[in-house]
Amino acid sequence: MMQKDQSADKRPWVLLSPSLFAITMLVVIPMAFILVYSFYENVDLAVDRVAFQFGNWQEVMTDSYYRTAIWKTLRLSVIVTVLAAILGYIPAYFIAMTRFRDKWLLLLLLILPFWISFIIRTLSWIHIFGNQGALNGLFRLLGLTDTSLSLMYNEFTVIIGFIHVFLPYMILNIYVSLEGIDENLEPAARTLGATPWQAFREVTLPLSMPGLAAGCLLVFVLTGGSYVTPLILGGPNDFLFGNLIYDAVVSELNWPMGATLSFTLLFLLGLVVVLYSRLMGLNQLSKAFR
């Protein structure tokens, strides 16, 4: 009887309805429109014709320009993700394991970058690598060079910019799963004769995998979907798939092509998310908020 009452309870649905309605109207339906528009035909600047033709799709599938952009995006996202994982794991481990009294300070400093403007954090690298940046200033001061070395606007600075912005996501996710591990497990492995490295590799590392995977997913998807960082820190050849969308929509006002490219990006990154959720489940992602 109780069970029946609960499942017939309308109250949770009343509470949920505004959010569900908003997401349906502002996310689900627009995604459907992207698909529909990808079959439209671009006639002129900002003018398109209702149609059902595969011209845009054919162009995206066959033009090597788009394929190059997909590979570039994939390559850069993998590089950023792997480097962020390598850079992020050890600090996460340190914060989780330290007996340091002011551990809260380390955690606070980890959250702090989330509050600092993305664009300020990104452009701050111009002050490091730019012509008037810290490195060039240092080189001049040491008398190593008279002119400015151009260290900026290449793939390297784009990668640095991405890692800098996304690293806190990685560290936080790894930290959360490391923090959840029973702290007696590693000492237990040690008393059973494992070396510290063995204890880490056989016990701690596998148990922290969910966090590492969640961090990697976030960094990969966030990098793969962006276009602003290459515009600020990259050169003309450092574009991502997102930049093609930006160009199609903002510069060329070619809506059908913008829609086709958007759907392609949604599909590719969606594949990654689906693959992840099959393996790990999506609830690991929300653990970082607890």
Binding site: D9, I23, P30, I90, L112, S117, L123, I128, L231, A259
Partner: protein
């Protein structure tokens, strides 16, 4: 314990990597040089004065503040209702609903931006402040739900039961017991939503009507010709707001809870 000190050094280096460039911005904001970079020529506050006198920037600032505040109101309202449903009730399809609520995060922001624009185009509606507002709210919503949900789980239901058994109506119970207990969650959610909106650039570039700038898009536009010292000063002010306000709020909250105990 040599390994441990290596880990410690590594961690310090990573923290340096995260904060050194930001500190450089903060320092350069006070550089009197007329260029935005090194070398440092002297201490000066003139870029803050310039900033204050720059009408485009102050206008962008006002837009961003209003947008952020309204986004916080909308997404926190929706988010709290949804989080209440998830925390307080058991119903069928809950996992599916939870996943659905975080879909705005799973869709790449660029795609989300283009999709909403195309939908609007189909409706023959121009870009507007309203578009920015609903757009930012939907981007912030999943984060608000997650934050509020995490905090709400910690509230015990005994207080509500007690209020009800003492004769309070459901509405009275909500406004006099539940809501005050929820306030920290509400506040955290609203702050988060404000920060997300205040910081957003990816979608804002697509959604803003021509002529309207938020602080990030204004900076983005000014960047085309190198970093001006005004941008450094603006960065300083923004960091003071987005870091200072939550820190102060957190410190105050701590202070008051300690006093109570």
């Amino acid at each position: 314990m040599r390994v441990w000190s290596l880990l410690k050094i590594y961690t310090i280096l990573v923290y340096l990597f995260m904060f050194a460039p930001i500190l450089v911005v903060l320092v350069l904001a006070f550089n009197s040089s007329q260029f935005g970079g090194f070398p440092i020529e002297g201490f000066s506050l003139r870029w803050f004065v310039k900033l204050y006198e720059n009408e485009a920037i102050t206008r962008a600032f006002r837009t961003s503040l209003v947008l952020g505040a309204l986004t916080a109101v909308i997404s926190t309202t929706l988010g709290i209702l949804a989080a209440l449903a998830l925390v307080r009730y058991q119903f069928r399809g809950k996992d599916l609903i939870t996943t659905f609520l975080i879909t705005p995060v799973l869709v790449p922001e660029t795609v989300l931006a283009v999709g909403l624009l195309i939908f609007l185009r189909w409706l023959h509606m121009p870009r507007s402040f309203g578009l920015l507002l609903v757009g930012h709210s939907i981007i912030a919503l999943p984060f608000v739900v997650l934050v509020v949900q995490a905090r709400l789980t910690g509230i015990r239901r005994d207080y509500e039961e007690a209020a009800k058994s003492l004769g309070a109506s459901p509405l009275q119970t909500f406004f006099q017991v539940t809501f005050p207990l929820m306030l920290p969650a509400v506040f955290a959610g609203a702050l988060f939503a404000f920060t997300i909106s205040f910081d957003n650039i990816t979608a804002t570039v697509f959604w803003r009507p021509s002529g309207m700038e938020t602080v990030p898009t204004q900076i983005f536009g000014m960047l085309r010709n190198s970093v001006s010292p005004e941008i450094n000063a603006l960065g300083f002010v923004m960091i003071c707001i987005t870091v200072g306000v939550p820190l102060l709020a957190g410190a105050l909250a701590r202070y008051f809870t300690r006093k109570k105990i």
